[in-house]
Amino acid sequence: MNRLTTALFLCAACMALSLAAFGQIRLYDSNGDDLAKKTRSTFDDFSKGDNNVFETMVANTLAMKEATLAQLYDLNRQKVHAKVNLIPETTWTALRQRVLDSQQEFVSAYADAQLILGLSTPSDAANALKQEEAKLAVLKNKKSSQEKAVQSEAAKLKDMQDSLQKVRDGVAGAAKPIHKLSDLDTEFKNLKTVWDGVEGAKTWLEAAEKSTQAPGLQLTILDLAVQRQQIKVERLQLELDHIAAQQEIADRIAGRLALVWGNGEPDARGEIRQGEFGKIYAYLEICTPGTACAHHFLTAADNLAEQVMQTIGRLSTTANAEVGRPLDSTLALRNLLDILGRYVSVIGYQRYLLGVDTIESVTDDQIFAIRQSALNAKERSVLISHGLEGLAAYYSGGIKPEEIANLMRAAQTAAQAVVAGKVN
């Protein structure tokens, strides 16, 4: 009888142990369910829309930019046509005044661009170039220090990732079940050594070490730390990309200003005698033959009163007879056409491109704001998927480690939504 009682007692004990074990692994107990539902509902809110919403926003922004540029180009082309129409009948004296007007229009176009960008407007061409160069210098410094920050944080991230991966591999390859991560002596010691040297990582390590009876939870906590560091690096990289884009545009604008008017310093007549404008002005004044300025088309005072087409006719006719003779009129005609082409490029596409750079800069600001929002959403997703709420509750004593599995499962539901949202 006694032996039977002992046997029954042993059997009952076995069953009780089994039940206890099953009780611990149950995925859907009522408390866990409530919490899981709450998390799932948060995820539903998050993933209700298109998962590619940020990419769509970027694509829309770019499409809008291109539509704006197409309109701007058409408008610019119309203006160029109107000005080109006037050239043949214009006298050289009048053309010189038009070039001066275009020079001022270029300064105004740059000032308008600065106004759109919310920057101070320059009073003249020289200040415009100085302002752009100063902006470029600031951006270069900013980019350099940002690069250092990215490198530093990325190195920490790699160390954290590598050490955690070794622990994961150790867990997967372990011959016997792991009850706590410190069971993996070498791998966990390595992780501790690495993480102790990373600012902010120690807190997560301590939190993980507290959960000694739940190695899965330990991994979740450590992984959350890695994910946070990953997002930190991505945020820094995004800021770096933005600075690099700003620098590229500033560089282009500074290059364009230097190309068009050199240092921008005007002479006594207000004419900028450098860059493209300088080259144009150089041919719009009298130059007698035999001096340094070879093959000019305005060689006598009365030439200034000629219409452009009139000079072209004169030079074409004399050039016609220059077969087997020095090419004076032919080269003068070529220079004349060259200068007119240069003038049209300054009032045309060079000015248009100044507008393009401004629109591109504003577009970049918008795109990087969208990318920033995407990163914020990603961070939120990481926090929820790792059941941070659950962890908080766990530390306040209101939840068992196993119940966090419910939160993780809810996170996996969101993962399915990512796939369904056409990942590729």
Binding site: T6, A7, C11, C14, M15, S18, A21, F22, I25, L27, E55, A59, L62, H81, V84, N85, I87, P88, R168, A172, A174, P177, I178, P215, G216, L219, D223, R252, M309, I312, S316, T317, A319, N320, E322, S329, T330, L333, R334, L337, D338, L340, G341, R342, V344, S345, G348, Y349, V356, R371, S385, A405, R409, Q412, A415, Q416, V418, V419, V423, N424
Partner: protein
């Protein structure tokens, strides 16, 4: 005594069966994990090739600018003006006319603009297209990482049979879904 021993044996067998089941689950999890690791490598390769492509684009633009292609535009304009001067001087009565001049100026402007765009054009669209591709690949990578994490967890707790089965089923389903969308 006999019924007692029978009950004890039954409980022991049940426990053993549970262990055997868990071992199978663990082995399956490890096998699936190895597949996921392979897929992760593929996604990593795609990420690297996208980044390499963009870097090459950027380098090409930088190289063009280093070679001072503005001189190329000057040469282009000079060649056009020389050609037009030849045309006009060959037959001044027919060619040295308003229409010819305006056509020459507008064509030169448009062609120079095309050349300028080709040599100095912005790479904003290329940059953003790359970022979009990278974002999509990152999402794939994260998904695989999640599946891998679940499978790692299975390796930790082989005795928790029901939970293990749920996680394994879910991992398998998520992974199958990933493969299905990837093959499209």
């Amino acid at each position: 005594m006999r019924p007692g021993l029978f009950l004890l044996s039954l409980a022991y067998c049940g426990w053993l069966a549970g262990c055997a089941g868990s071992t199978v689950v663990r082995q399956t999890a490890l096998k699936l994990r190895a597949q996921v690791v392979d897929d992760e490598k593929e996604v990593d390769k795609k990420l690297a090739s996208q980044r390499e492509f963009y870097q090459k684009q950027t380098d090409t633009i930088a190289e063009s600018q280093r070679q001072n292609v503005r001189l190329g535009i000057d040469e282009f304009r000079r060649s056009r003006s020389a050609s037009e001067a030849t045309t006009m001087s060959r037959d001044p009565n027919a060619e040295a006319r308003m229409g010819s001049l305006m056509e020459y100026l507008l064509d030169t402007h448009d062609q120079e603009y095309q050349l300028w765009q080709k040599l100095f054009g912005s790479d904003q669209r290329t940059r953003e297209e790359l970022k979009t591709k990278l974002a999509k690949l990152e999402r794939q990578k994260n998904l695989l990482q999640q599946v891998k994490d679940n499978l790692t967890e299975l390796s930790i707790s082989p005795s928790r049979k029901q939970r293990a089965k749920a996680l394994l089923d879910f991992s398998q389903q998520t992974y199958d879904l990933y493969k299905k969308t990837e093959s499209k």
